[in-house]
Amino acid sequence: MAETRLMTINMGPQHPATHGVLRLVLELDGEIIVKATPHIGHLHRGVEKLAEARTYHQIIPLTDRLDYTNAMGNNLAYVLAVEKLLGIEVPKRAQYLRVMMAELQRLAAHLIWLGTHALDIGAMTLLFYNFREREEILRIFEEVAGGRLTPTYLRIGGVAKDLPEGIEGKIRSFVNAFPDHMKEYETLLTKNVIWLKRTKGVGIISKEDAINWGVTGPTLRGSGVKWDVRKAFPYSSYDEFEFDIPTGSTGDVYDRYYVRLREMEWSNSIVRQALDRLPKGPIMADDPKVALPPKEMVLTDIASLIRHFKIVSEGITPPRGEVYASVEASKGELGFYIVSDGSNRPLRMRIRPPSFLNLSALPKMIEGGLIADVISAIGSIDIVLGEIDR
């Protein structure tokens, strides 16, 4: 009588295909996964606790470091929550600049995802193509904001500074060239037999399960739910842009791949629309309690100097209350829930990270499947441990 035993395998936290420091404990019956248990927290920095000890402006750099591939989107979610709390209106030009930067960032984030996901499965060429285009986006960010990975470009009430001279031409040439690059990626993967065999029918999650597990973003849309925060709760003038929500049907790895590629095309189109229709005007809200005065005023006018000093040292004091604001980040719905007690620091700043809930549904996708497919399933939900562990 042969005895059957389950074998337990540890995967990670130092494993290149876990995209950071994710540890998975897999119980195997032969090659079949019986149970998968993710262990997280290796990158826990206590961002929510740190935020309670900082003024509202000082929290913006912390948000860059959550999902470090999507810094502009994180900034946007945070400043939207604070602006909602304050009840201030942001000028149109700043809103369009935010949309433009958030969509460029989405492209950059999806390019990292595509390159690393394909690399995990064995297609190496993609990574070099993707990092080539991502470099162009990061150069644009460097000129606009001064930072590449952590630009900290957004401010409460607007953006840090206006576009520098000549950058619009560079963005436009990137946007014009990008559809051809998309073709290069698709030639390598979309109808590639090896790619199809590794991704079709793998890591399936149904529509109902995805909703019940709180999955959002391309992972939810891959399962066929036509839902996007940009359409459901339009923020930052997204209702003035023309775009569609691509969806999949079966909810497998291939559908999630396909949804993200279509999403990149729409992002590119949104950047083009924002560039074409970029309104003129101020880039900061006209609210002396929130916006810093212009530098030349600080140097010449005593009242402006005092105002600058007060905002920098004391910070802003929103009214008592609680708000939730969310954006469609590259991974899904990123939300900030801020409870204010009327002081210059938040009483509670809760971050609702999309990757956290997407990852919690991973066992649902891989249990019953083959161990070789774990890699493609992890790659397809596009997790970043920086925002899971916070």
Binding site: K49, N212, W213, G335, Y337, R348
Partner: protein
């Protein structure tokens, strides 16, 4: 706004004694509930054909130390049918527990573990209530207001027992 009122109206009809307070701020509706009725109300909101709050977007804790009861557990629900959010809140004292909603929304599994980890609020009937971000054996709950930001033992070296 009309749709949110639908949920609140239905709750007030069905559970008249359970709705302690309804507030609205910046267009968001908050409903405060006693924790004994929380599970029933969540199930009603999930199952009711007119409401269908099928997604638990977020679940988190808030510490209002030194008020008593000091904690609040906050549930943010979303209905695809109504395209509306609804926030439920319940007050929890120190050492008390809340009934888990994991059997309604699977998303609550990890979210409740996180609240347990960072606030020390336990959840009844949770299938797998373990620490999630911090390691087993860690002492204290970092998001409590009486927990210092730099940590209680920041100047002591951490040497695990081998």
């Amino acid at each position: 706004m009309v749709e949110v009122h639908l949920a609140v109206k239905k709750l007030q009809e069905k559970f008249p004694s359970s709705i302690l307070e309804v507030t609205s701020f910046r267009g968001e509706v908050n409903v405060v509930l006693p924790k004994k009725d929380l599970f029933e109300i969540c199930r009603f909101l999930y199952l009711d054909p007119d409401l269908q709050y099928h997604m638990l977007t977020d679940l988190c804790g808030v510490d209002y130390f030194p008020q008593t009861p000091r904690f609040e557990v906050v549930y943010l629900l979303y209905s695809f049918k109504l395209n509306q959010r609804l926030r439920l809140k319940t007050k929890v004292g120190e050492g008390e527990s809340v009934v888990s909603v994991e059997s309604i929304w699977k998303a609550a599994n990890w979210l409740e573990r996180e609240v347990y980890d960072l606030y020390g609020i336990s959840f009844e009937n949770h299938p797998d209530l373990r620490r999630i971000l911090l390691w087993d054996g860690y002492e204290g709950h970092p998001l409590r207001k009486d927990f210092p930001v730099e940590g209680p033992d920041f100047d002591k070296p951490f040497v695990p027992e081998v």
